[in-house]
Amino acid sequence: MAPRLLNRVDAETGTETDESFKARYRRALDNPRLSRNISQFQISWRASRDQALTEIDFEQLRRQFKSTKATSSTTWTGSPIFSSRWPPSPAHVHRAETAADAVAIVRQICENHGITQIAKSKSMVSEEIELNHALAAHGIEVVETDAGEWIVQQAHERPSHIVGPALHMGRQEVGALLNRVGDREVSLEDIPDQVRAIRDTVRPVFFTAGAGMNGANALIAESGTVMIVTNEGNGRLSGSMPPVHIVLAGIEKLIPTFDDAVTQLRLLGRSSTGQRLTVNTTFMTGPTPGHEMHIILLDNGRRMMKSMPEFTEALHCIRCGACSNVCPPYAQVSGHLFGHIYSGAIGLVVSGFHHGLESIADAQSLCLSCNACEVVCPVGIPLPRQILDVRKMVVQARGLSPIKRMVLAIYSRPDAVHVTTGLGRYLDRPLARNRMIRNRQLPKINRQTRWRSLPALAPQPLQNLTPTGSFEEGLPPVVANGAAGKVVALFPGCMTDRLYPEQGLAVAESLKRLGVRVIYPKGLNCCGLPANNMGDAETAKRMARQTIEALEAQLAHLAADYIVSGSASCVAMLTQDYEHLFREEPTWLLRAQQLAARIMDFTTFLHTVAKLEPGSLSGGKPVRLTYHDSCQGMNALGLKAEPRRLLTEVLGCELREIDDIPYCCGFGGSFSFDYPEIAERLMKRKLDVAEQTGARLVVTDNQGCIMHLRGGADVEGRPIEIRHIAEIVAERLAEVAAHHDN
């Protein structure tokens, strides 16, 4: 089936509009209510969800259900209950290989019974196969009975969220729509009045429809039971009142037992809406007496997904929508843009299998790889990695833009980088003021620089400021610590080397003052993260191999206990993404894993190796700060308590916590250059909440965040400083050392 890239039918002409992705992007950005509504929802959802999770062991349940789903997928062909009839009142089970097959089956059922109207409970699978549209062409009306689905149906739009289809609409929009399509005046503000109006319109359909249709939240194999979860009760109404009941479900919905269903329920309500359990959970085994029941099991690309190991876990999705609820770009443009029919991070992964790669080729570029989705996913789907794999497929099909190709061509060659950055230092010297290049100096790239100053290249790269290829001995430890006497190879990362060498020096100085011998490996270039995030797998692998070889060569010459980096992004790349990059190359995989075993970020090193005692570095100059959790530090490396402990308990700083849900600053590497409008909004949000703490110093552990936030603060003249945690540590160590000397 050819992908339908359109998002709406023109309400006036009834014809399909075919706006380009860019046009839809602009339209979304021009709607201020859209981002305000969704952002506010994300905040309230987070509070409810976090509260609901306090009652369960989320990690344990997640592991348990992930295992259940992994096992279930091996039994798709082996479920006799769902493959055959059983007495005395069998449900008819149908298998549909394609969307067209499923539509044909539904149509045949309707025609066999003379059905011209279906009362449908919420079903993303029916959206997936565009059932309503297909049946309408044959004179079969499908009436959505979920309030949100009904609203978007009346608006001739697709759902913008897997759980809350009308999330993109505010109450005034809904009220105006109801006044347009209804037969009585409806309040623009009073939501209960709006709900009553919808109920009055939809309720009769349960009694007039010839068929009711549901999706399935789970298909319980042990008994042939369909589990349906709703808040409105329409699932049970549509499954009970009409004489024919049709259940349409993806085959991945199969789970073995009722016990597994209970696990799913504990995760689903909490993850989708922050509820302990949704209002209605219905278990249907066979038809209502005197009625007929049909269950249609749909493939439509699911087996293909199952056959590709890197995507199999996406089949574990329980359609909770949590991935959308934490997604920063989603909040700015809604699911109409961030996905294709299936919205959110999961939509970026599965759409290619259901609707073809082209259906998601543009939307996938909206992911900025903050990893927030994977953190909240109740079944632990590695969504960020899968989205990058989709991106790589898109890049393979479409190629990269000329600019990106050129940038990576240079960046992947150390000698080219050396020449280019050397030249760059001369070129940007007349432009830079306080190591910033501002918009007035670069008006031609206004879209990039109007809102964020760019950093000038450092006068000297870190590798020129340190004995590269050699080492420095550790100093007498300023305080007793577990790292004294250890040997650490410093991996600065390319941004530290060329833009912020002072941060690399801070890491080195900190280590030395803890009694650590510091090795400065030579031949290091970029770890390959930009190439990986841009979707250029081959260049990423080439750069990864360079990095591995350079580190191995140096470590063969000068042995090190650890490899430490002040860049959380680089550490995530080296310790996690390399394994995925080389998954089909055993030799490189082993080499990457052997290095990864010794690599850690600066904060983790101080926490787990140095094990600085509380108060050991306190008593110096008072420092009031706030901490920005970088996405890679928090979501990929799991750092949350560690930097806070270091700053408050060890260093004695006054930490003012940001009052906001965990949220990306908007950098996302090349994302901030591809989608500067979104990046700017996220940056401003972060700077606003940071300033609201009353602290004038923002500390973080990632150079990308520093570059992004500094650039924004510079343009707006905000009285706020953004620094690396290593700089704070180094300064405090120097203070303590000076105090000892005195």
């Binding site: 309720r203 049970r236 037992t257 209002v279 219905t282 278990f283 085994t285 209502t288």
Partner: protein
């Protein structure tokens, strides 16, 4: 939606203390959703509450499920005082927007503040689905501690020939 809880002889496998704990937890979990839980010791006390509810709604008729009528045959006759009439639901269409419906839960779940309705036919199901105000009777001995226990019940229901649907 309002509930009546009738106290019966304590289940020998669950101690009175455990039942009391479950009732408390169940009430704590369901109350924030706008549900009123009434704890009553006898069926007569329950009838009084039903009359109060009916009076507040302004109805003299309550629709009841056949299972409820069978379980409490003596109780659900037209009351002498208060004049509340009980009709057993037989036609789902007649249940539509019934002002007051009364049904019998097979279980309640303390963990989630849920009730489990297991109705073999559409008429019985229609009481819970279509009444504007629903009263669910939950024998305290049927209150389960957790969702895990209800899984066993659902399994037993599903494997019965002509299995009904169950809802919680």
């Amino acid at each position: 939606m309002e509930f009546l809880t009738l106290r019966r002889a304590a289940d020998r496998q669950v101690s009175p203390h455990q039942i009391a704990e479950r009732i408390e937890r169940f009430t704590e979990r369901i109350a924030p959703m706008g549900v009123v839980v009434h704890r009553v010791a006898t069926i007569d006390a329950g009838m009084s509450i039903l009359q109060e509810i009916a009076a507040a709604i302004g109805t003299e008729m309550a629709l009841i499920s056949a299972q409820l009528a069978e379980a409490y045959a003596d109780a659900f006759v037209e009351t002498e005082t208060g004049g509340l009439r009980f009709d057993v639901a037989v036609d789902p269409a007649a249940s539509r927007d019934a002002p007051l419906g009364v049904t019998l839960a097979s279980h309640a779940i303390a963990e989630t503040g849920s009730v489990v309705l297991s109705e073999p036919d559409l008429a019985a199901r229609s009481v819970g689905l279509l009444s504007l105000t629903l009263v669910v009777i939950v024998p305290t001995s049927t209150i389960l501690a957790s969702l895990d226990e209800v899984a066993a019940f659902l399994r037993s229901q599903a494997r019965r020939p002509g299995a009904p649907t169950a809802r919680c």
